[in-house]
């Protein structure tokens, strides 16, 4: 199915691209309204973004639909992937777009209804795209600049809550990627029905990276597959199936909640590390691999409170704690015993190891989704830059105020987190505060010179009582540079 053009769809998306993208380029100040494809508007004003002194931000492209990543070819031309799927069960067409220096946009390739396309990387004359695989399972795609699409690996266990993410090319030439978990904390529940996938795949569940022995803890919940009935469900099994103490769950590859790697030809699948929840963003700093892990939500049969996303340096063969630890804290500790909400019990009896201490722990529900390291000349050498998508409250847990919606930097030695690009005025996405700045920074990458930071802004995705409400056509690509001294 890949490598085959879908003429009608291609024509439609091309029209949309011409009509909706690249209308503004290099705009630093002055207001403009961005018309989303559903009629919603987003005001753009780069001057609403606060940066450290000596830095400037401009908009490179707008009108994007659910963009999730940017990469640069050998010429340094920016390419953006559009997801093709957003929470809220909104399906569009996954696309790889070339962003020319004049702001014009060309469609390089399109995908099918198997998004989200989560991130893009450039390697040896082609782009690597992580196809999330919400409908048919995850894949790592190789896309040539002339639009030929092939799959390096497929059938990744990706039809649940979290998808196939990344990828990142290591100094060894291997392709590293993340695979998220099916569930929030190991137990399939009604929350997965609301996400949409439990109805499609009632037998789907998490697969561990190695054999594990269960404690036999089970959870009773409503049964959305048979309304009016109850269901009892254990860990690492399909919905409605209880487990017993001492029960062994076979692990294997591919698995969930893991960083895995393949050779450039797609073969040789290996486990790098596991015990993540949703290792959404990967980046190498020299030969050191860093991963941003989206941590637990306050939802489902086994909710977890006050869990912050973590930045980890990945050690091969290590287990990073999911579903029984939050960073390096066991969920059974009294830290997670909150009024009216007893602490979660451990699901795994034989933890492979005690998880290492993370480099940094971010604000609860800040949703840290993009990471990269600057080159010389940008400043803050050796620090990680992180894009924070922002919270999805109240659907993932309640907050007192918006969290995230900005770019921060992290000192790898101290773990100190500092704002880098943040909206002026009230906290939150620009559309909610009537500003023209950042909406939902979902990814970032320095250009080939390391001196310009491109920030991918997913666009408007409000949360309602009915769930997420993402707005097509409201995504933006920003560029941050350091002014000459």
């Amino acid at each position: 199915m890949y490598g085959k053009r879908h003429g009608a769809v291609f024509a439609l998306v091309l029209i949309a691209a011409i009509a909706g993208c690249g209308r503004q380029n290099g705009r630093e100040s002055g207001e403009a309204a961005l018309q989303g494809q559903d009629g919603s508007e987003r005001r753009i004003d780069a001057s609403d973004v606060r940066l450290p002194e000596g830095y400037r931000i401009e908009m490179v492209a707008d009108g994007l639909t659910f963009p999730t990543g940017v990469a640069f070819d050998d010429r340094g031309v920016a390419h953006v992937v559009e997801s093709g799927y957003a929470y809220g069960e909104v399906w569009t067409t996954p696309r790889l777009l070339r962003i020319e220096s004049d702001g014009s946009i060309a469609v390089i390739a399109t995908g099918t209804k198997n998004g989200p396309w989560n991130g893009v990387e450039w390697q040896d004359g082609a782009f690597l795209v992580a196809e999330g695989g919400e409908m048919e399972g995850g894949r790592i795609l190789r896309i040539t600049p002339d639009g030929n699409v092939s799959s390096l690996i497929d059938d990744l266990p990706s039809v649940g809550d979290h998808h196939t993410n990344g990828p990142a090319v290591g100094p060894d030439g291997w392709i590293y990627f993340g695979q998220g978990t099916a569930t929030n904390s190991g137990v399939v529940g009604p929350d997965n029905y609301r996400f949409g996938w439990l109805k499609r795949y009632p037998d789907f569940h998490d697969i561990p990276g190695q054999d594990i022995t269960l404690t036999g803890v089970n959870y009773e919940s409503d049964n959305p597959l048979n309304p009016g009935e109850k269901a009892v469900t254990g860990a690492f099994v399909p919905f409605g199936r209880p487990t017993k103490e001492g029960q062994v769950i076979r692990g294997g590859l591919p698995c969930n909640g893991a960083v895995m790697r393949i050779r450039p030809d797609g073969g040789g699948l290996e486990l790098v590390a596991w015990g993540f929840r949703n290792p959404y963003a990967l980046a190498f700093y020299g030969d050191r691999l860093f991963v941003l892990n989206n941590s637990y939500d306050d939802r489902g049969s086994r909710p977890v409170f006050a869990s912050g996303d973590a930045l980890w340096e990945v050690r091969k063969g290590t287990w990073y704690g999911w579903p029984d630890y939050d960073a390096d804290l066991p969920l059974e500790s009294d830290y997670y015993d909150q009024p009216g909400h007893p602490r979660p019990q451990s699901l795994i009896r034989n933890h492979p190891n005690i998880p290492p201490r993370p480099v940094a722990v971010f604000g609860v529900h800040s949703s840290c989704n993009g990471i990269d390291f600057p080159g010389e000349g940008f400043g803050f050498a050796g620090e990680a830059f992180v894009a924070q998508f922002g919270d999805n409250a109240p659907n993932t847990g309640k907050l007192r105020a918006p969290v995230g919606y900005k770019v921060v930097r992290v000192n790898l030695d101290s773990g100190v987190i500092t704002d880098f690009a943040v909206n002026r005025g009230e906290k939150g996405p620009a559309s909610r505060t009537e500003g023209g700045g950042l909406e939902r920074p979902v990814s970032l990458r320095f250009d080939n010179t390391g001196t310009a930071l491109y920030v991918v802004d997913f666009g408007i995705m409000n949360q309602t009582e009915q769930g997420p409400n993402p707005r097509p056509g409201t995504g933006v690509l920003w560029k941050i540079t350091r002014e000459a001294n």
Partner: protein, 121 residues
């Protein structure tokens, strides 16, 4: 009399103020005072233990820590005893030396809370 709830608010307010004031160079250019080594150490421990609920010292999962003066002892009691949704932190989790540094960082933040942009609690 200072209640536990008040202590909780005071502690959180101060912690949030601290983190949020750190500038691009690791220190707010508007700071009245320089960061001592103890304050820097406290900043590191704050990031690990406190930042998740009070990101950059501001309101998030927990309340804002900015804008309320409080004593070192009040902060210490709040951390050790917890309150409401905030857990207690034992000496096994945060040592006395680490807590001393965190308190120094919080007090530093409070001293340097001016200069923040409006809209941040």
């Amino acid at each position: 009399m200072v209640t536990r709830a008040t202590l909780h608010t005071l502690f959180l307010t101060a912690v949030c103020a601290a983190a949020g004031l750190i500038s691009a160079q690791g220190q707010n250019p508007d700071s009245k005072t320089a960061m001592t080594e103890t304050v820097r150490l406290g900043q590191r421990h704050f990031m690990y233990h406190c930042h998740r609920c009070h990101p950059q010292g501001e309101v998030g999962y927990g309340p804002s820590l900015i804008g309320h003066a409080h004593s070192a002892e009040e902060i210490r009691q709040q951390v050790r005893n917890g309150h409401g949704m905030m857990p207690a932190f034992s000496k096994d989790r945060i040592s006395e030396a680490e807590l001393d540094a965190i308190i120094a960082f919080i007090l530093y933040l409070h001293e340097n809370k001016e200069g923040r942009e409006s809209g941040h609690e």
